[in-house]
Amino acid sequence: MGEETNTILNGANGGVVRVALVYLYTGLAIFWVLGALGLWMRLSHAGVLPLNFFWYYRIMTLHGTGMIFIMLVATMGAVAAILSARVRLSAGLLWTAYVLNVAGVACVAAGTLGGFAAGWTMLYPLPMLNYAAGWPPWSTFAFMVGNLLAALALLAYSLALLLGLSRKHGSIAAALAWPFLLNGGETRNAEPPALSEIAGTALGLIGLVTVVAGAAALAPMFAQAFGLISSFNVLLEKNFMFLFGHTVANMNIYLAAVLVYDTLPRYAGGRHWQTTRLSALVANVLLITIFLPYPHHLYMDFAQPEAAQAIGIIGSWTGAMLALLVTIFGGLYLIYRSGLRWETPTILILAGLWGWGFGGIGAMIDASTPMNEVFHNTLWVVAHFHTYYLLGAAAVTWGCMYYLITELRGRKESRLSRLAAWLYVIGGSGFALMFFAAGAAGMPRRYAVPVAGTGERGLAAFASLSVVLLGLGLLKLTYDLSAGLGAAWRRTKIAG
């Protein structure tokens, strides 16, 4: 059966767009649930809805792990939908990744609700303590299986990207624009690969390496759970865990960048995000630089080799500078004097670029060792990654989702929808800023109670109010998106 064609549907990608919509709506629905749990934690610190520490730490573990995995699902869905207009992606692999990921989140939920509360980075050997730490062994096992399933989902999705992109361009090297780069910016073909496709290929490869890092982190814990080994090196395991965790989180924002490359130009007077030698080179450099910043999580592990700590600084700052100079700066000059259309997706996508920089400033300060001494494991860290997510990857993903639905259903949004997008941004900013202030005052992260003298109680109250603003904005956007789903779904099935 053929489908109608438009900017998203090409007559043959209806199946992929449908699975992408399933990714997006599942992501949005679970984002609401986990977001509400996040708000509960802030309300607890504000003294409004106190959680006992048993539940605080369980909810914290569920909120963190679930958000990392489900936000990735949503962004992966949006990327699949956008790329599928030009790239033949395997719907079978995408469905496989979806089922694995949702099963992974279900296992994580079962494990944490069953008592497991070691935090999403579950530093070895804490998860292995089971009853001694306050949870039954089955809940640890369920949580670890959840992580394993999410890693396998990333493997399936990365393969879907790599197969589709290498088929389109003839090889992985061509999809990475190597002929274009090696020929000094010239190509025998009319056009080099689109920047979104080069970055998509790089992220597919990064996904494969990240899965290996995840396997390296999980294998010793499974081996110990099954009694095959009695212990493992704590520092090495910590390195594996942060290499996996930090890279998964980073992949989310870079996948969001893929969305920006293809979506923002549609609102910027028909300009086209060009593949230049610089942008193609930087997308390739990401293959290395994405793995370098993770040691900044281990600055306070003085036993870590000092060279690794230096690499952590260089990697963190280089990554930030490349993102700023290529993607964010590229977005700024793409819209400059462009006749920009101010629509709901524009507001959210531009907020995503601004928020990436806003969170990046906090991250760069923390990535310097002297500052890390007073910010590490305080709410400052929580501030920077919430900014990256809420005002970075998530904002871009919801903006792109809005674009997809309005295009598919063929109807424009209202002024109220644009107001809702602004509410999301303003609420999100207030929320994140309170985390930064609390972190600067020395409030530890992953703490069931506010510490006196840090001002955390008042800051959490203000943060909660900000979340309410954000929630009101997201509620209106969710209403629009829900109202448009039926028509969008049918559009993908219409015979052409």
């Binding site: 730490y57 704590v234 819209i335 400033i361 910010f375 494991n377 600067a440 003298g453």
Partner: protein, 182 residues
Amino acid sequence: MSKASIGFALFVLLSVVWTLIWAFVLVRSGPPTLTYAAVAKRAAAIRVWLFWTFGSVLFVLFVLSVYFFPYRAFAMRRMGRPQLKVEVVGKMWTWEIHPDSIPAHTMVEFDVTAGNINHGFGIYSPAGRLINQVQAMPGYTNQLVTSFDQPGKYTVRCLEYCSLGHHLMVSSFEVTPKKGGK
């Protein structure tokens, strides 16, 4: 002004500048009075300038960061050899700190380790500000070299999540006025 306050002030300042840059571009995003090629040409020049400016600033900051590394060899090069050793062991969910009384203006080395899981040895000043920290890891001894100017009670909090009793893992040590000092 504490290091954390300077960090926060810098963050606010840079965030305001960042937002103003966005405001500048957004108010000029409307009428398409310039072709993309013309904008791209100007942007390329600005990008080169930004690259060298940021690159130079970050290089200087990198050198400073390495100079101020908190690790033992770097700390001793800056501050001299420790005159006192304090043994610290983090256990679920208590701290063992020996001795728990330290003279002010004395180079002290905290030898920090942990019983069976990771903890974080976070030192809060008598005014309640986080002033220093180091991880406590089983199987490793992390050496934190520092000194205290201000006498008083310093609170120790666990800064690495260690399950249900994490927030209860609070202890303290005393910094006493140096004999013959003020």
